[in-house]
């Protein structure tokens, strides 16, 4: 039996290659992601083990805040460590954020949106190669000493073209412009960067002054005297330090930091491998369809086997063995392809600005097992239904000439009923996940995921019912332009709705995701346009430049002072932003969230007028105004009391005096500016909105403000058009990235079209011969095959776009609280750019039509090359 299977595989090499290709691509993506992230993980393990190799005990601080500036230790407390028994030497360090680097032209050095720039002390107290800042070492030049010297990480130096000895300018949010000498260049680990983060190093006193943390530390490292028990020393140090200090062994610290990075990477891994699983899912349809066609094509061969005495189970076994063989070969090649992919990623990602440490490729048994299992199991499962059909082939079929490929007509009504019920179940799960109260059950994500999967299944069960009419319509359009070849293509596409639907299904899945991504980005764009155009009453806004990752980044108050002096400015409002922990006592328990707190001036509402509000929009001392959606989430009403905890000064009580509604208020929790300043101890603005006097436009005002702020390169003056185009660029970047990952799934879906068309050409050999005999020329023959592929692809794309729009709509309705004000179906390109076009649904409809033609070039060529006489004689 194995021999029959293997011969079956070998006899149809093209089919083997196409089916295997789907598995190779999907498995390749999954295992490639594993290999790559394992490799990075291994690199980080090595780096942290190395970084902490000279450190016996690591000291840090704990904070309730994940986004804040961190908490600090006093130098006086740290000095007590020296007195603890067993401590040989203790080295302090300080870290923070809040600087901007200028390039040689005096502009902000930026590589686009990314994480903030970190400031750290980096010192080499006794000429040791002792590293005190998580893995950085100076490899060029020297350690920075005194207030005139700085060191950059290799990424900054490369980006700005800086060399050791250059004069460089760094702007501190808190102390302003610093002109410095670049003393040295530091690298992380063996030479790579740290995920694209930028690092600026000073000696400790200078770091304290730049970050305005005199006498404060983030933590330190301790070396113990020979023979001392590390655990005992830890207990001793804990006794002299305040409660929020953490004291752990260097080994634990290395493992902890590596684990933290691994956790961050696992998000990356999951995100990337989702696209691999999607590709495999799409591939499973291709495999299912291939085996389905193969079985009906081989009806007579299988029936002959039955006639010769093979049992139903043996026939089923033959088909399944064939699937297993292809699955295993595909999965093996896929894992190999994945390793190559990981190698490629190591080369490509740094070029795209994502700096991660490198190491020799790490191929774990898990990667190979998951890859092989995924490829084989999916192929096997996809072939189950076709195999069952194969086993039901009647022995009589062998004796009848016309038995091949006559599709079983399942009851249409039954199909409609079953499909309808499945659809209802899927919709139920989806809507319950999105809008229902899932309570203590599984998370809403589970319901949404299951719902989406079930809806897919329902649509695929129902799609044969509409495949006929829809392809008829599409073909009708085509026939108008292409005449007879179009008519033949249309009829061919309609002749087996189930096959057309199954082929289109693979296209549908990938296009659904494409349409979903387009609809979401289109709606985000629409929301931004709506908010900026209709809900903000200001001509320009001043923001920190180049600090995309940090909404609480700030600039000096002199900026606003200078703007007040400009004649063209009619009015302005200043905004302070800091992270806080918002806590509300409810009857069922305590709700706490880390949230951005806005320090507002009384005139804030003049600049962002709400659609409606209750109470007041001008909070007095100890009062707070929040957005309606947040009030709903916390279930609070006017007069309730809320507690906000600040990292710098602890908890403060506030009374809710106003609830505002409207897109521009999304996410706002506003307290008086004076309260925020006293809570944080910092009077730094995060945003300034300015209204122009009557008759002055945004660009004119911007032109008037910019020169006055020339010596504040760390702030940017922007009109709302600027903000829109900046947001547009970011959205486009995101969309392009997702589309690039989906491209693989699209290709696999299209391979399914190639496969079906190749098999259809084979099946219709005699018919093509007849057509050729009565006068169909080669060119028209090719056109006929390509046109059919195009019709099937566009049918798939239509279903995908419909589903994508629906999922997008449901998601946006569910995320209304997050500020999605409008739902946009991006039929047309949003701009003339590549990303603008890629985000348009009509483009994808057209593109799948063209891809259908391209992916049918080979089957079309085969059809045209058939020898007429042999074709007519073909059985």
């Amino acid at each position: 039996m194995l021999r029959v299977s293997l011969k079956g595989v070998w006899a149809h090499k093209v089919r083997l290659v196409l089916t295997a290709l789907a598995i190779i691509l999907g498995v390749g993506l999954i295992s490639g992601v594993y290999v790559y992230t394992d490799t990075i993980g291994k690199a980080f393990d090595g780096i942290f083990a190395d970084a902490y190799s000279g450190i016996d005990i690591a000291i840090g601080t704990e904070s309730d805040f994940s986004f804040g500036e961190g908490t600090y230790l006093d130098e006086a407390d740290f000095a007590l460590i020296d007195e603890v028994e067993g401590v040989d030497e203790a080295y302090p360090y300080l870290q923070g954020i809040g600087v901007t680097i200028l390039d040689a032209e005096g502009d902000v050095l930026s590589s686009g949106p990314g994480p903030p720039t970190f400031v750290s002390s980096l010192s080499d107290p006794q000429g040791n190669t002792y590293r005190d800042t998580g893995g950085f070492t100076i490899t060029e030049g020297a350690y920075p000493v005194g207030s005139g010297q700085v060191a950059f990480d290799r990424g900054i130096a490369d980006l700005g073209g800086f060399e050791v000895g250059d004069r460089v300018t760094v702007i501190s949010d808190l102390v302003g412009r610093l002109d410095l000498e670049l003393a040295g260049i530091a690298v992380f680990g063996e030479g790579g960067g740290l995920g694209g983060t930028k690092w600026v190093f000073f000696d400790l006193p200078t770091a304290q002054s730049v970050l305005q943390r005199p006498g404060q530390l983030s933590g330190g490292a301790v070396q113990v005297t020979p023979g001392a028990q590390i655990d005992d020393v830890i207990v001793g140090i804990q006794a002299v330090l305040p409660d929020h200090a953490t004291v752990i062994s260097g080994q634990d610290a290395a493992e902890e930091e590596a684990a933290e990075i691994q956790a961050a990477l696992s998000f990356f891994t999951i995100f990337l491998s989702v696209f691999g699983w999607v590709a495999l899912f799409v591939g499973s349809f291709l495999i299912y369809n291939t085996f389905r066609i193969v079985v009906s094509q081989r009806t007579r061969e299988l029936a002959l086997l039955r006639a010769l005495g093979a049992g139903a189970r043996q026939v089923r076994g033959i088909v399944l063995l064939e699937a297993l063989t292809i699955g295993l070969i595909g999965a093996l090649l896929g894992v190999g392809f994945g390793v190559m992919l990981a190698f490629g990623l190591q080369l490509i990602l740094p070029a795209a600005g994502i700096e991660l440490p490198t190491a020799s490729l790490s191929i774990k048994p898990r990667t190979v097992i998951v890859g092989l299992a995924a490829g084989t199991v999916i192929t096997f499962v996809s072939a189950l239904i076709p195999a069952r059909r194969a086993s039901k082939v009647s022995v009589m079929a062998a004796l009848r000439a016309d038995a091949a490929g006559r599709p079983a007509r399942g009851g249409l009504l039954r199909r409609a009923l079953v499909g309808g019920v499945i659809l209802a179940l899927g919709l139920g799960a989806l809507f319950f996940g999105l809008f229902g109260d899932t309570g203590s059950g599984p998370s809403p994500v589970v319901y949404v995921g299951v719902g989406v999967g079930v809806i897919f299944l329902a649509v695929f069960a129902l799609s044969p019912l509409v495949a006929g009419p829809v392809t008829n319509l599409l073909g009708g359009v085509l026939e108008r332009f292409t005449g007879t070849s179009g008519r033949l293509a249309r009829r061919n596409a309609m002749r087996s709705p189930r096959r057309t639907a199954a082929t289109a299904a693979a296209v549908t899945i990938s296009i659904t995701l494409v349409a979903l991504a387009s609809t979401l980005t289109g709606s985000i764009r629409g929301t931004l346009d709506e908010v900026l155009a209709n809900n903000v009453d200001a001509e320009v806004i001043v923001l920190p430049a180049g600090q995309f990752g940090d909404p609480s980044a700030a600039f000096a108050p002199e900026v606003a002072e200078r703007m007040e002096g400009i004649d063209l400015v009619a009015d302005l409002t200043r905004i302070w932003i800091e992270w806080g922990l918002l806590t509300v006592e409810t009857p069922t328990g305590t709700l706490t969230d880390e949230i951005l707190i806005t320090g507002a001036e009384p005139n804030l509402a003049d600049f962002i007028p709400p659609d409606g509000f209750q109470g007041s929009l001008d909070p007095g001392p100890g009062e707070v105004v929040i957005e309606a959606a947040i009030a709903d989430d916390y279930d609070v009403a006017l007069g309730d009391s809320l507690v906000i905890e600040f990292e710098q000064s602890g908890e403060r009580p506030f009374t809710l005096v106003g609830i505002a509604d409207g897109p521009a208020w999304a996410g706002i929790v506003a307290i008086p500016a004076t309260d925020l300043i006293s809570a944080t101890g910092q009077d730094q603005h995060s945003q300034v909105y300015a209204q122009a006097v009557e008759g002055v436009g945004p660009d004119e005002l911007k032109a008037a403000v910019e020169p006055l702020l020339a010596d504040y390169p760390n702030v940017a003056v922007q009109t709302f058009e600027d903000l829109q185009s900046e947001a547009e660029a970011q959205l486009n970047g995101l969309l392009n990235f997702i589309l690039a990952l989906l491209a693989l799934a699209v290709v696999i879906g299209m391979l399914g079209v190639t496969n079906t068309m190749a098999l259809a050409v084979f099946e219709r050999t005699r018919e093509i011969g007849l057509l050729r005999a009565v006068g169909l020329d080669r060119r028209t023959t090719r056109r006929m095959v390509r046109a059919e592929a195009s019709i099937v692809s566009v049918f798939g794309a239509l279903m995908g776009i419909g589903l994508g729009i629906f999922f997008g709509w449901a998601l946006i309705r569910a995320l209304e609280d997050l500020g999605f004000a409008v739902f946009v179906i991006p039929w047309l390109p949003s701009s003339a750019s590549v990303a603008g076009v890629l985000g348009s649904l009509l483009f994808w409809l057209l593109a799948t039509g063209i891809l259908g033609i391209l992916f049918a070039v080979y089957p079309a060529w085969r059809a045209a090359r058939l020898k007429v006489i042999e074709a007519i004689a073909h059985l």
Partner: protein
């Protein structure tokens, strides 16, 4: 010739045969005698390795594949033994297929008279799978006729039909020759079918071995016996 070296088979050997315009000619011979190959070569479906094939003044051996395709749809009609029709097209679409492919307008009155004569006028909307074998072959005959080709090739057209349907079809072919001066070349091994022809050409081993004018079945059978079939 097919194949090379030891496997080379000469299908048609030094044959010279002409078919007269406006005549119904039957080609007979045992299997392997080359009658199908002869027809394929004459229809531009296959090419000769030596010598020439003419339709009128046109030498087929000088034509490209495209020109041959054009020739087939404009000047030649086909009726095969079976599977004559494109299953996705209706009877009427099958009939006009060569005209549609050529982009030629259908002569409606000619179309009507052809389908009327063949008795398929009330089956035009049906798909081939909804027609009987005899109806299918008559639709195929209508297709061959409708473009008014100079020449119709019929390859065992009644081979799959019962005697009644077979007689209907052959009688139609006969009348097409008589009434419209249609030229028909029919390959057959059935003496009854050949009896409808004006002339019979007998083949054996790739050569013309005999011919007969105004045949009838008894004479054909006699002749076949004398040729030791």
């Amino acid at each position: 010739m097919y194949g090379w070296g030891d496997t080379r088979v000469t299908a048609l050997d030094d044959m010279s045969v002409a078919f007269t315009r406006g005549e119904f000619t039957a080609v007979m011979g045992p299997s392997g005698s080359g009658k199908s190959t002869l027809m394929h070569c004459m229809a531009g479906l296959d090419s000769v390795t030596e010598g020439s094939v003419f339709i009128g003044d046109q030498d087929l051996s000088t034509l490209s594949d495209r020109q041959l395709t054009k020739l087939r749809r404009e000047r030649i009609g086909f009726i095969f033994q079976a599977y004559n029709l494109v299953p996705t097209l209706s009877a009427s679409e099958n009939i006009t297929l060569p005209l549609d492919l050529a982009g030629t307008k259908v002569d409606q009155s000619w179309f009507d008279s052809v389908v009327e004569t063949l008795g398929v006028a009330d089956r035009l909307k049906h798909r081939p799978s909804e027609l009987s074998g005899g109806q299918q072959q008559r639709v195929a005959a209508a297709r061959a006729m409708v473009s008014r080709p100079e020449l119709i090739f019929a390859d065992e057209p009644s081979g799959n039909l019962d005697s009644r349907a077979s007689a209907d079809l052959l009688a139609f072919l006969r009348s097409a020759v008589k009434e419209h001066a249609q030229t028909i070349v029919m390959v057959t091994h059935d003496a009854n079918a050949a009896g409808y022809a004006d002339r019979i050409v007998f083949l054996a081993d790739g050569r013309v071995v005999d011919s007969m004018e105004d045949p009838n079945p008894e004479r054909i059978l006699d002749r076949l016996k004398s040729l030791e079939y």
